[in-house]
Amino acid sequence: MSRDAYSLTGMGWGNRFSFQRTLAELLGKRWMEAVVPAALLIGVIAYFGLTTEGFFTSSNGQTMSQSVAELGLVALGMTIVLVGGGIDLSVGAVVAVVNSCALIMYKQLEWPVLVVAVVSIGIGAAMGGVNGFLIAFLKTRPFITTLVTLLAYRTIAEFIDEDYSSKLALLSRFDDSWTFIGAGRIAGIAMPLVILIVVAAVIHLLLSRSRWGWRVTAVGSSRTSARRAGMNLAVITASTYVVSGALAGASGLLIASRLEQTSARTGQGLEFSVLTAVVLGGVSLAGGRGTAMRALIGTLVVCVISQGLILQGKERYLFQVVLAIILLVFAAIDLKWGKNRGKAIQKIYLVPGRFKIEKSPDIYEPGSVWALNDKLTGAQAIGRDVLDGPEDVVVDRHGNIYCGDRRGYLWRIPGAEGEPELLARVGGHPLGVAVDADDNVLICVAGMGMYQVSQTGAVSGVSTEVRRTWYRVNDDSAIRLADDLDVTDDGIVYFSDASTRFDGDEFFLDLIESRPNGRLLSYDPSTGKTSVELRNYAFPNGVCISHDGQSVLINSSNLYRIDRYWIKGPKKGQLEPFAVNLPGIPDNINRASDGTYWVAFAGMRTPSWDLACKLPGFRRRMIKEVPTDEWLLPNLNTSCVIKVTEQGEVLESLWDGQQRDHAVITSMREYDGYLYLGGLTNNRLGRVKVNEVEDHDSKQLEGAGQR
């Protein structure tokens, strides 16, 4: 069970929650798109339930389930066509033709019911196949093609109707299974509804889980991309029309078994109702977006309105007017929302909060430990203009130096005089580097998690996800901003995930937001499990195992403090302050050779920044009104390294007082009497002598980060 570090922020419970942030995270969820139609469904059911007599009766339920099934099957077919980037207007006519044909087969030819069913669906599929062939292979426009076939099929239906309608009305045949299709029940549920549910489940699986479904979605989203990905556009497109035709055929069969008569008016205007239903449900007319579930919700709304108006004894044209209005409104919403959803989320995603922060110590006070000096000026440059952004640096027991690179590299440098050699292309910016007992390099990679690189340069993932927190809207299972790590004697890796909301290049957004979005994780190699040790931590950055191996020291870059988390001994599991209210932004922390700790300040707090931190509204308006390049930050152009005792007392600070070479210092390692300096945006590593070393013993090596 993880420990909550929220109290470090000094803020009350109310500040844990933000309506705006929750809303932004909710809007990012795909399933949220069904919320509006679902609410509308509840609304119309409530309305007709309250105002219309006989709405909640079993006979009405039977009627409703028949019409829902007939409309729903067609809607599912339409959904597939729309997701595939087309449109099928001929469905109503297909229903009419299949209806007539089914009755002829059943009544006049007296075929067995199963054969009638299969052939009926086959006729529908064939008619859809004609659409598909014209559109996919002859490259005609879907809209105009299906409009033409709508007229053609409608004419066929009228011919059949003229010739057979009167004959069929006189014939009569009774078959249990025929009646069962239209009016039977399974476990109290009307047969048509059962058919619909089964078909919907199949369609859902096909669209969301099958290769075919993914390809249909891909074609609908972007034909060009789908073609470049090697998909056979014609076959995929044609198949959607075949499925649509087959489902329209099934719907026609249901109508035939229910009415047992042909009529030229069967299925007239059905395409209009179906389009309204699916668009209402959130299936996009632009293609690529839609699910079976949403098509069903839309169908239910349309059927409830239709049935409700019939029960109220309203004229039929009123239903058409209502449908037209709904179609208009939702088609507009579909267009606007589909286009602007990302922008809307982006506008409200960042919600500045605040921390309780004390006034910074006065670094200009004469004689203070913070006095500017030139101890780091003139540091020996390693890999100058070869390295780009070595955030962290580590030296192994052989004297090899390792550091990351903004371009996603891991460098190995054989000693301070050596030339950097590319050990591995990791794919993300390594922010924390450590070496384990077997000389494998463990790295925290921004946006990826914790990885391991062997001495031969083989990269393998070690820890890339944790269990998702069930009550959070945002999926926090991914390790978004792995920042720094350290390994205990037992081989357990403690590492920080600085933010669950922002990626590596956007670290400043987390600073501006000032909310505890980070966490401390641990990885146990014996079980291979990663667990959350501390949650709600404000930008945990540097991580370091204490000299006695009993605790972990964690830098909070956003709260300007260092905390000690006990991992062993009597205080195990406790979190206690180590050094608080620092005047800079603590980045990495490492052991020094003399039993103290080195801490790098990535930058300094400034009075203007501290004031901005007190005013969330100021920061909120700033990010809205001011271009990103002009946003206020703490002073990340002046850095230093400080030395802290085991009791958390700051002993000294080391500066590049001339600000010549190291604009930012985010990490440092002591090795063999030298301090190695890394920086997030620097073009080099630095090396300065810190103290004279009498003998080269293992105690020194311990200071270098390798245990």
Binding site: I363, Y364, L372, D385, D388, F508, G603, M604, T606, P607, S608, W609, L611, A612, L615, F618, R621, M622, K624, E625, V626, P627, T628, D629, E630, W631, L632, L633, P634, N635, L636, N637, T638, Q659, D661, H662, A663, V664, T681, N682, N683, R684
Partner: protein, 375 residues
Amino acid sequence: MNLTAIRRQVRAVDDFLRPSRAEDRSIPVLDGGLSPNDALDGFTPLWAETGSEPDDVVAVGHWVLVSADSRIHVVDPNSGAVASTHTFDAPVGAMATDGKTTVYVCQISAPVQRLTVRTDGTLSVGETVGGVLSCPTDAALIGGRLFVSEGSQVHGPDEWRRDLMTKGHSGRVVEVTLADSASPPRVVFDGLAWAGGIEVDSTDSTSLLVTETWRHRVVRGPIEGGPVVQVGALLPGYPARLAAGPGSEVLVSFLSLRTHLVEFVLREDEYRAEMVNTIDPEYWISPTLRLDGERWEPLQIGSMKHLNVTKPWAPPRAYGLVARMESDGTFTGSWHARVGSPRSGVTGVTVSGSRLVVACRGGRLVLTSDGEFQA
């Protein structure tokens, strides 16, 4: 609810819906005659002295007079050699000259002093004239009459940041009565948001050009007083001292460029009030003459160094810029220093012979163009 309040509400809603379209949120780009270059970085240092900040320069005869704090140095524009130096009781705020031998020196909170520059570069101090001015920023001598711009009646010249961040608008232009030192100065224009510079309109010698620094514009008004009209408006920087340029042009020195963050803080009353009351002005979010790399200086994202380099698109909190303006407000050319260059914060400019001499207060040196500047 009155109409103004309703309008403000509508404005607030509109700003929320379309934040980038709000009227006062845009800063004009540097284009046309103000297109950026790095010409100032190519200028030759003419004069510098440890610990002193050159503030203004005027050309008198062969010589260039450099004012720095309470001293005036007479400098040879060819060699940079100092011919003589005179120390005043109070800091020098502004100088005006007839171009030949006479210079009027406006001291801060002290009387105006007349100087004569001899041909050998020595100075002879004449009588004091007129009354005491608390914040003289620039002066112009027109037909034997002395006009002085005053930045503010509340703050001194060195408190210009405070005047900007408290939205001061008490600047004025006065005429100092040369004949009678007892009579108070005559107010020509007042209510200006920091009158930072003054020069005669060379196309119409009965008009004055005055920079209204905090409103980013140059205005023109009659010598005898009356309403002013905008000449160059919506400038991308803070125009300050003016000097006569070649032909009918004037030379405009800019304290710095406007930035979105400063404009934003000017709208944020709560933040600004607390900043002004609790923070040392050196560390304010405000334009400045130079960046010292102090640890408490505010920093913006674009100013973060990458690979040890300040990017040229970094927000110009300090910037070096002198521009040539026609008297109708058209800019015909300009000299810039790259963002991050030490040659920022130009406060004075003059033409000496065929050369341009620039007082770069932020860089603590006086610069000169090599050869003719009209290339």
